[in-house]
């Protein structure tokens, strides 16, 4: 948590710098001496992993932007040219594409950690809200990045998503159409759309950087949550300086994550994408099954589960919006799932299962029992946030929380 700065500049130059722009003090306070609870488990390493993913995406993206041209006539060709004839173009391209997938693997685990351990509860509500904003920005960025390839799936994905706003015509005639055409810049998805998708795709990652800075700042005020859910009481016995303990531990976790990343990058680079996106965009040829990338499938399932077009869009966005309110929906006085009832634990894992099931169903055609199951899991998803979290907190019998982290530690040893 925010602690007294202990940085002592050791050289004349660093003293001079510190009195003008205390950037080294800032790095020392946040990354070196920052008191971090000693009992964090490996679920806490995904923040660092996500930071690395962001840096990787930005670096590979900037390199690729030097070779890419956002015009429908050449976009696909510029990527193929860079991949075939550019210096390690294939490596940059696959790192960026696989990096996107790994980014979402990490973010879903990171969010799951937050949900299980009550990291969204007071005093970390703003931290959580900024996190959901980062997630939304990531989704927008990833969607736009996929569209830039201008393969057939890119074109039709943009057509489907921008079509969402068409449903507003049922509320006020003409509103939807106007909005859709304004977003696309044209009557249908065309070169105008591609150009603005590129502009925004380049912009949003830097907005994400800004949000991440706010996210870490909001974290550093109260300090990290920890697996017991009990706040730090005695920093001396319950925390460790971030460096070297957590720099090395996060380093190890990042390295382990990179094993998975390297495995996918070099041997399964196209496993998570759709073959249809290796066909150039053709407005006259719709893919047999329009499906988004895997990380959007759960929300896509929710969209298809609701029988009305407008309803589907509303519920799809609501699935993300509802997360904003988790800090206030959850009435439990106990933060961490570790010390909550078995009911909570089952409810939580059912939520995870529902999300995975919805992702599976999102790839299927909306017919038969696929739709009915999507509705079941969608209802459970909303029920978790809107019914279970409020009610469980009021009625559950929790296990005895440890009085402090120190007590939990000494009990464990």
């Amino acid at each position: 948590m925010s602690h007294q700065s202990t940085y002592q500049p050791a050289y004349a130059f660093t003293r001079w710098l510190d009195s003008r722009l205390p950037i080294l003090r800032f790095v020392d306070d946040t990354l070196k001496t920052f008191p971090t609870p000693r009992n964090l488990n490996y679920w806490w390493t995904f923040g660092g992993i996500l930071a690395i993913c962001l840096v990787l995406q930005i670096l590979t993206g900037i390199v690729m932007a030097m070779h890419y041209a956002p015009h429908t006539l050449v976009a696909f060709d510029t990527i193929e040219h860079f991949v075939r004839d550019g210096n390690y173009g294939w490596l940059m391209r696959y790192m960026h594409a696989v990096g996107g997938t790994m980014f979402f693997v990490a973010v879903y685990i990171h969010m799951g950690r937050g949900l299980y351990y009550g990291s969204y509860m007071a005093p970390r509500e703003i931290l959580w809200i900024i996190g959901v904003l980062i997630f939304l920005a990531m989704m927008a960025t990833a969607f736009m990045g996929y569209s830039l390839v201008w393969g057939n799936m890119s074109l039709w994905a943009v057509t489907v998503i921008t079509n969402f706003f068409q449903s507003l015509d049922s509320i006020y005639q003409g509103l939807g159409t106007t909005l859709v055409e304004w977003i696309r810049g044209d009557f249908s998805v065309s070169n105008v759309s591609l150009n603005r998708l590129y502009s925004l795709h380049y912009l949003l990652p830097f907005i994400i950087i800004g949000l991440v800075i706010l996210h870490v700042w909001a974290l550093h005020v109260p300090g990290n949550n920890n697996p017991t859910g009990v706040e730090v009481q005695n920093p001396e016995t319950e925390t460790l300086p971030f460096h070297p303990y957590y720099t090395v531990k996060d380093g190890f976790a990042i390295s382990a994550f990179l094993i998975a990343f390297v495995f996918v990058l070099f041997w399964l680079p196209n496993y998570f994408s759709h073959p249809d996106n290796y066909v150039v965009a053709d407005p006259l040829s719709t893919p047999a099954h329009i499906t988004p990338e895997w990380y959007f499938l759960a929300y896509y399932a929710i969209l298809k589960a609701v029988p009305s077009q407008l309803g589907g869009v509303i519920f799809m966005f609501a699935a993300i919006i509802v997360m904003f309110f988790a800090p206030w929906l959850d009435t439990s006085p106990v933060k961490s799932g570790k010390h909550r009832s078995i009911t909570f634990k089952i409810a939580f894992w059912l939520l995870i299962f529902s999300f995975i099931a919805l992702s599976y169903l999102g790839a299927k055609s909306p017919e038969g029992w696929y739709v009915w199951l999507s509705r079941v899991f969608m209802i459970y998803y909303f029920a978790y946030f809107l019914a279970l979290l409020p009610l469980m907190g009021l009625f559950e019998k929790t296990s005895q929380q440890p009085a402090s982290i120190a007590e939990a530690n000494s009990k464990a040893h």
Binding site: R84, D276, G368, W369
Partner: protein, 333 residues
């Protein structure tokens, strides 16, 4: 004896579960009539895969002599034929292939377009000026450019829904990225006569895509299309392009004895002609491998670099883990 004894309940539960599973499985199978594309074995598959140069060369011969009558390949240059990781022809051989084609260039200093012999820097030509010409010659269908075909097609499977996650795990464990060549091989070898089903006239009326004609339930094949079990919808505009010995062996590459020939199930020893014949299946395999190379020319470089990178990352992980442990052992946590 109690009607609902423990044993009876258990038997009942087991049979109910089994029948539910069967209903679900058959519903799933009935719902999805997707072609089941078989996995083939490719030299470039797996963790340590690489292209077979001879296969790529035979595949290029198939492409050049059979496919170029209708298909273009605008992303591949003649110089790619001599680059490492592919058929690796010599510079002279690649130049010779380039010289075989006529390329439109210009305008010259007089402002006219002119034709010249191809160069290494030129791309593989398309037989048609544009898509409209292609469509007018091919009954409205445009033969697609083949540059990325090895990656632009997937391999569907007819499996019940509960088996899918197991297949995903298996695919990841075997690093299955050869869906494209598997599909291409299946497509090229799955032409056949449109099926005739043994159904009554009444049942035939309910069967989608079939018509009761001349006393039999026949598949309704649209005029001008060809029946193919691997193609989605089963009706493809492309005529079966391959047949036995459609393309000759490259100079000196043919096996000279019956024993050497019959080692490969795709080859046939013709005793009366005393030569090893390539079947249509062999041509299909070779051209599918070639199309994988044109789609992924950096495949070999990718996999070999991957080995070094993986080694490095594994080593780094071990070192960081040991560091973490050494550091944390000293503190109570």
């Amino acid at each position: 004896m109690k009607i609902l004894s423990q044993r009876r309940i258990r038997t009942l539960a087991a049979s109910v579960t089994a029948s539910v599973m069967m209903v679900v499985a058959s519903a799933a199978l009935a719902a999805g009539d997707v072609p089941h594309i078989e996995k083939q074995s490719w030299t470039f598959g797996g963790l340590f895969g690489s292209f077979d140069k001879d296969q790529l060369r035979r595949g290029y011969m198939v492409y050049k002599n059979v496919c170029t009558s209708c298909h273009g390949m605008k992303r591949v240059h003649f110089r790619n034929l001599k680059e490492p990781g592919g058929p690796e022809y010599s510079e002279d051989e690649a130049k010779a292939f380039a010289k075989e084609v006529e390329v439109t260039d210009g305008p010259n200093d007089e402002g006219d377009m002119f034709t010249r012999k191809g160069r290494l820097t030129d791309t593989f030509p398309s037989p048609y000026k544009n898509d409209k010409e292609a469509a007018s010659v091919n009954n409205g269908s445009v033969p697609p450019d083949l540059s990325l075909m090895g990656k632009a097609r997937g391999a569907t499977r007819n499996i019940p829904w509960f088996m899918e996650p197991l297949y995903w795990i298996y695919d990841i464990a075997t690093v299955y990225q050869e869906q494209g060549p598997d599909y291409i091989y299946a497509l090229l070898t799955s032409y056949g006569e449109p099926p005739v089903l043994k159904l009554s006239e009444e049942k035939c009326a309910h069967k989608e895509g079939y018509k009761f004609e001349d006393g039999a339930c026949k598949f309704e094949l649209i005029e001008g299309l060809n029946y193919n079990t691997a193609f989605p919808g089963h009706q493809i505009a492309m005529v079966p392009p391959l047949y036995d010995d459609a393309v000759e062996w490259p100079e000196g590459a043919a096996p000279k004895t019956k024993e050497a020939c019959e080692k490969d199930p795709d080859l046939k020893w013709l005793a009366d002609e005393n030569r090893c014949s390539m079947t249509a299946s062999k041509h299909a395999r070779d051209v599918a491998a070639f199309l994988m190379w044109t789609a992924e020319p950096k495949l070999e470089e990718r996999k070999s670099m991957g080995l070094w990178v993986m080694l490095y990352v594994l080593l780094m992980t071990v070192v960081l883990y040991l560091s973490k442990r050494a550091l944390w052992r000293k503190v109570k946590h």
